[in-house]
Symmetry: C2
Subunit: 218 residues, 2 copies
DNA sequence: AAATATTTTTAGGTTAGACTAAAAATATTA
DNA sequence: TAATATTTTTAGTCTAACCTAAAAATATTT
């Protein structure tokens, strides 16, 4: 059995592994968890004892197969709870993260299975992130940052990179939600801002925004 | 903010207070929480600092108004989650306790309010226990242990004292569920067992069972 | 390659929440 | 009421999870 703290470390390493697939550095884990590198070293040793990570001093950590499965299951629970909050309890997509952060640590396999069924076996959470299945697998969808699209390319908005409530509320205000079609009209060389069409309306999008919106090209 | 551990102590004192309304003894708290009296003394001092209990050495503790409100809110959450598990997720009444024990510590007022609404503002949990309202009040229903009924008295089964899964599964097996009418046909002096009618069937009930079933006389 | 900078680990300390064993207070019984 | 029993508190440890500061390893510059 793993403590909440151990679970949070596993989850952090899991997320970092999706980007780099090299040994995950102590510092990157510390940064993600808003803690100190020395604390990370302590915890990594413990996780290594429990055989959920492989650890070589100064070389970073990798999740074992067991560790990956456990981490994916926590992510699964997090995302299922997010769907529950939005679909059943009228939460908006910018309100769910902190609560899901707590709910993901509830230990009951039956609970997860039943929530999954209750929600109709959703495949994605409210931010467009895929929900791992019981085995911990998730299907990767081809996605591109809006900022990488060229003039006249179009696609469907399928996710966000930054899921802070500030960003999500901003998107709400602009009418940008998952599933909407976006067409790039123009790219400004000067500030990398974009002119796009969404909801049949033309609007200007800063590079910062375009760098945090995932598009499925079409 | 209170830790899970602090919340568990408050809840234990709350439950014990419903029976005795005197100062709650260190030992009774220790027994309920399956911990040692010395640990209880430590925690009581901390809770006393936080002004949720009043503590006099060797004289036991009492909840303050604030403490009572906080404790009632935890009980409220516990019971709402139990209803959720049974009504929405197909848990049976003997499976809900351990999960609710975890869920009751989730911190989100919106979550509780929404669950409450989602369930249609239930007044009782699956074991017949009343759900405190947001202010922490609960309406007490006149109830009697089945063992206190006399020959020929009848009533509706409205709750259980022991909610262990063993007992609840036993009741299921016997067809005894909340809302059923029970009529006492006979009381055996010898072993205090009862002969009753439930579901139009006659059956014999040991004193141990009758001592754990609440009836609303009718 | 040597010097410097950065990252990581170690060593030692803190706090919450538990524990054991012994001392102190209270309660019970003779 | 004195003796005994029980309950409660105190004193001192332990572990998980964090911390700071310094040492050691690795990476980057010059």
């Amino acid at each position: 059995m793993f403590s909440q703290s151990e679970e949070n470390y596993l989850k952090a390493i899991y997320h970092l592994s999706l980007i780099s697939n090299k040994g995950i550095s102590t510092n990157s884990i510390a940064e993600r968890l808003e803690t100190k590198a020395s604390s990370v070293t302590d915890m990594i040793k413990k996780l290594s004892e429990k055989e959920v990570v492989v650890y070589k001093k100064y070389k970073g950590v990798k999740l074992t197969d067991l560790g990956t499965k456990i981490a994916a299951n926590i992510v699964r629970k997090h995302r299922l709870w997010e769907v529950f909050l939005v679909d059943k309890l009228n939460f908006s997509w910018d309100e769910v993260h902190d609560v899901a952060e707590q709910l993901e640590h509830i230990k009951s396999e039956k609970l997860v299975d039943q929530i999954d069924a209750f929600l109709g076996f959703p495949t994605h959470d409210p931010h467009g992130d895929p929900i791992p299945n019981k085995e911990g697998d998730l299907k990767i969808v081809e996605k591109s940052l809006l900022s990488t699209l060229s003039k006249n390319e179009k696609g469907i908005c399928i996710g966000v990179d930054d899921s802070s409530s500030e960003f999500l509320q901003f998107l709400d205000k602009k009418g940008i939600t998952l599933g909407k079609q976006i067409t790039v009209l123009e790219k400004e060389e000067f500030d990398d801002s974009l002119s796009i069409i969404i909801n049949d309306k033309k609007m200007s999008i800063s590079n910062k925004i375009a760098n945090n919106l995932y598009i499925k090209k079409s």
